[in-house]
């Protein structure tokens, strides 16, 4: 078992997944896709829905980009990605509106804005155009899960402080006074800033070298 584990650590699959989730986490390390990470994270359920939507769009669009990578001329590749990505976003939008209208209403315009989420474009441009489909698939999943877990972490902190609940279960004592500011934009900025600080300190991954 131990041997198997060591062996797995040297495969490309494992490293792609690890990079996406931790070492090159799109939000914490690359600081991409922040708009939706802050705007929809005042409730945990919204964060989960957004995470899943982005997971689907990133994975599916990277797969398609990887599939057609040899036939797109370099000049028009951006607009080709845009068309591919927005087709998938429209699918997600229609699906959520049909089956989960409450969540679709809460996410509002941010659902459509997955099109311009830098993570989707970033993965298409940085990974999918250069790699075969099997690796692209893993890379898409790993990156979007890396995005999702940060989203959920931010949402748990914000919902607990702003409403005293997590997924509508009461976690704070009855005497808890809601911090309304946490449900507004500044709360998101502060919480994400502190999370980035924490993760960087833990991973010892800094932007400026210590003097």
């Amino acid at each position: 078992m131990r041997k198997f584990w060591i062996k797995i650590q040297y495969t490309k699959w494992f490293n792609i997944t690890k990079d996406g989730l931790f070492k090159e986490n799109p939000i914490v390390v690359a600081v991409l896709g922040i708009c939706s990470a802050l705007a929809v994270t005042n409730r945990v359920e919204n964060a989960i829905a957004m995470g899943l939507a982005v997971t689907f769009v990133v994975t599916a669009s990277s797969l398609v980009v990887s599939m057609v990578r040899k036939v797109i001329p370099a000049r028009v590749r951006m607009i080709t990605y845009m068309v591919i990505i927005s087709a998938f976003v429209i699918m997600v939008q229609m699906f959520l509106e049909a089956y989960f209208p409450v969540i679709a209403a809460a996410l509002g315009a941010y659902l459509g804005l997955i099109v311009t989420n830098c993570i989707v474009m970033g993965r298409a441009e940085a990974f999918a155009v250069k790699n075969p489909m099997k690796y692209t698939f893993f890379d898409g999943i790993a990156n979007s899960l890396g995005y999702t877990w940060i989203l959920i972490a931010v949402a748990i902190i914000r919902e607990a402080l702003a409403f005293g609940t997590i997924l509508n279960f009461r976690v704070m004592p009855e005497t808890w006074v809601n911090w309304t500011v946490m449900a507004l934009a500044p709360g998101g900025f502060f919480v994400l800033g502190l999370i980035i600080w924490g993760v960087r300190e833990w991973a010892q991954n800094f932007e400026v070298a210590a003097e």
Partner: protein, 193 residues
């Protein structure tokens, strides 16, 4: 007319697209390292946001008339990409000096969520044409205001403060934006009439 002024003030201050709606963060963080670049990017965004919203409005009416408003995102993004491309060529030909100042930022704007967001907001809020034009102008100016403010603060911080190393670089921008955002919430309920 009064309604239009209200839409404008609201979109610049109390409903600032960058600090209250949290849009366009990627370029906001990446380009706010100095005021000169921030000004270039801000100008480019004002211009493109206004232009694309004005172009997208009649297109949306057309989509609505044919019952295909589901495809609006796809159509909007193509309009935006095309407009930006045209603008780049046009500016390069007409005024090379202007191109050097903010031409570089134009391709980046296609993936700036502010542009698409403004086109989506006028749909969601069912604005008419005059309101759309005013709102898009205000949103662009609001975004430019935010990026210039942040860039100025970051420039000053370079020389005058020691930031904890885990926050240094892009981390501290979030704290700056949080405080600025608190300040902009203070504009809520502002009225001149």
């Amino acid at each position: 007319m009064i309604n239009l002024i209200e839409v404008f003030i609201e979109s610049v201050l109390s409903r600032n697209i960058a600090l209250i709606f949290i849009l366009g963060m990627c370029p906001l963080i990446a380009i706010s390292t100095n005021v000169k670049n921030a000004k270039g990017m801000g100008l480019a965004v004002i211009f493109v946001v206004f232009l694309t919203a004005v172009i997208n409005y009649p297109i949306y009416l057309l989509l609505e008339a044919t019952g295909t408003e589901r495809l609006s995102i796809l159509v909007f993004i193509i309009t935006i990409a095309t407009t930006v491309q045209f603008l780049e060529i046009f500016i390069e030909k007409v005024s090379p000096r202007m191109y050097n100042n903010f031409g570089l930022f134009l391709p980046l704007i296609t993936v700036n969520c502010v542009v698409l967001a403004v086109s989506q907001f006028f749909v969601n809020r069912s604005y008419n044409f005059a309101e759309t034009a005013t709102f898009s102008l205000g949103a662009g100016i609001g975004w430019a205001l935010a990026i210039i403010l942040i860039a100025a603060i970051r420039e000053k911080m370079e020389n005058h403060s020691t930031v904890p190393r885990g926050l240094a670089g892009r981390g501290i921008v979030f704290i700056i934006m949080g405080i600025l955002s608190l300040a902009f919430i203070g504009f809520t309920g502002l009225s001149f009439f």
